[in-house]
Amino acid sequence: MAILVNEKTKVMVQGITGRQGAFHAARMAGYGTRVVAGTSPGRGGSEVEGIPVYDTVEDTVTKHGANVSAIMVPAPFVKDAAFEAIAAGIGLLVIISEHVPVHDAVDIMAYAADGGARVLGPNTFGIIAPGQCKVGIMPGGIYRRGPVGLVSRSGTLSYEIAGALGEAELGISTAAGMGGDMVVGLSFVDLLRAFERDEETECVVLVGEIGGAAEEEAAEFIKTMDKPVVAYVAGRSAPPGRRMGHAGAIVERGRGTYEAKRAALEEGGALVADFPWEVPGLIASCSRD
């Protein structure tokens, strides 16, 4: 098994007729994911790469039993798309789109809580259970199936780690991206908890970055975990006070520094890597315990 998605997951893509939507829908399907449908208001009845397109999410649920949505619409339309998915009963929203207004994200999370839906993102690379299901924009080829859970705020950085794990012949149960924005759905803690319960997962790699307090919160939870956690935090060399590309990386008010996060994670019992390629070695060392 894996967390959140598996080979039974029925994925639909919101924004499937867009440039990114069409490209990645095909990639996901090519990976073996059950991409059952897509939506594009006004384009219902057409097909994208053999995948049927509907006007409404409701149609994909009633006609194909879709239960996970990959949202790839332009930022101004994400709130509408997410609300539509939640109202239609989609259980997991994977919001790939970036530059979503933060107040829209706030509203989406509140509505998801009301509607019993879970959300990854916005601004996530998605989630992949190697060999079973890929919902997102990650390059599927770098992921090997195995016992390591991987959770990250950053996409490319997690690919880096996944690549390093693969070269060390370490496989992954599920790799999930929380999303790089200030407000996202599932947190490190939510995902760590899921990995702690997942039978396939033996240890977890947490990939963090400076800014915010998510790693500090994760560190508290790690204290309660039975499974070992290896962590890597990017941004050690970043000057304070600059915006590092996205809102989640605002360093300010003395919170969220590299030093604070590293110290908290180590105190929580995680092994902390200095560089991405050190992660496999640290996993090996904790597996020996």
Binding site: R19, A75, G155, E160, V183, E209
Partner: protein, 382 residues
């Protein structure tokens, strides 16, 4: 986007939050004129987007119009924390019976607005001990209600008319926070002046990602020419102080690239985040702009997800063909989505490409004259 104090106060005023009587001026004469209109002692406040303005001498007081003109003359054209002062805000001096703090931020932990209040205003909230700070998350479905603010003021130890005024200000500030797509706002100090409350200073940062909803708000970002042009491309650019220009995709990977460069003794001169699937033409234009910053070396680090390796490779090839970089060496690391296609394009163009970040960073650091020996042993750990 951070708004200048005078702009923040204009927004406060629109939402019925009391502000001191005053006006912004960009010349000493205009400042004196405003002081004359106000007809009483004034404060002259440098309009810069920097903290610690008061300590840096950015706020002066003047008993009469002549003194106001002189103070404005001193401030205008000077710099506060390296930022040029182009405008001053001339305001009535308030009679101060107390100073409170009121702020609202987006709280990642509760995934919503968080009201922050303290009876100890007038100093940086960072310096106020935790026990003197009230934090109240707000349910966005319903908004902030006076009864909730009454619970806050009761914990702050204020009551009567001041508490009622505080509730009115907080409810207005919350409405503003939501309607104007604010991610951080502070009124500090919120001055008790007689029976009234006045926002004596104001901070307001709006969400860049929601700018499309607020076409009326002017852009205040202070950018260099290159930063401006790259921002206009919709990409994210940060100038730094080293010698390596980095083009990477994603904030996390960009930071990791910098961390590794630093380990090899080199520092980034700037970085450009092309995450989110920027198209080829944009990347070429961005590389042209990077070249204008005259770095010792340009390092492209792409682990393709939504960004496709073939598009990055095509851009690198075109840049190379057109001689855009002059004699600045280019180091490329390229893996991920459409990696094969990308490598094929680079191969045909005769551009070598690394597959390991470690190797690419080491080469870039070497070209930038960094201390590569320090990281030599790292290669063996993988």
């Amino acid at each position: 986007m951070k708004l200048y104090e005078y702009m923040a106060k204009e927004v406060f005023h629109r939402y019925n939050i009391p502000i001191p009587d005053g006006e912004v001026a960009s010349s000493p004469g205009a400042a004196g004129e405003i002081a004359r209109r106000l007809g009483r002692p004034v404060a002259i406040k440098a309009q810069v987007l920097a903290g610690g303005r008061g300590k840096a001498g950015g706020i002066q007081f003047a008993p009469d119009p002549a003194a106001a003109e002189a103070a404005a003359g001193e401030l205008l054209g000077s710099t506060i924390n390296d930022l040029p002062v182009e405008r001053v805000l001339v305001e009535e001096q308030l009679s101060i019976d107390g100073e409170l703090y009121l702020g609202i931020i987006i709280d990642p932990a509760s995934r919503g607005p968080l009201v922050i209040a303290s009876a100890r205003g007038g100093v940086d909230i960072e310096e106020v001990p935790d026990r003197d700070i009230i934090r109240e998350p707000v349910d966005v479905r319903w908004g902030l209600f006076p009864y909730q603010v009454r619970s806050i003021t009761s914990r702050m130890g204020i009551s009567g008319r001041v508490a009622n005024r505080f509730a009115a200000v907080a409810v207005s500030l919350y409405r503003l926070f939501r309607r104007e797509d604010v991610i951080l706002t502070e009124i500090n100090p919120l001055v008790i002046s007689g029976n009234d409350l006045v926002a004596a200073d104001g901070r307001l940062t709006t969400d860049d990602d929601a700018a499309f909803r607020h076409p009326e708000v002017p852009d205040t970002e202070e950018r260099t020419g290159i930063e401006e042009e790259i921002t206009d491309l919709g990409l994210s650019y940060v100038p730094l102080d080293g010698s390596v220009a980095i083009m990477a995709n994603g904030a996390g990977a960009t930071m990791a690239t910098m961390d590794i460069l630093e380990h090899f003794g080199a520092r980034a001169m700037n970085f450009l985040d092309v995450g989110g699937g920027a198209d080829g033409e944009k990347m070429i234009r961005a590389l042209e702009l990077l070249a204008r910053t005259k770095p010792a070396v340009v390092l492209i680090n792409v682990f393709g997800g939504i960004t496709r390796c073939d598009e990055v490779a095509t851009a690198a090839r075109d840049v190379s063909r057109r001689g855009v970089l002059g004699d600045i060496p280019l180091v490329v690391r390229l893996v991920g989505t459409n990696e094969e296609e990308g490598r094929e394009i680079l191969r045909e163009a005769g551009i070598p490409a690394h597959s390991q970040l470690l190797d690419a960073a080491r080469e870039a650091a070497q070209l930038a004259g960094g201390n590569v020996g320090g990281g030599g042993d790292l290669g063996d750990t993988r």
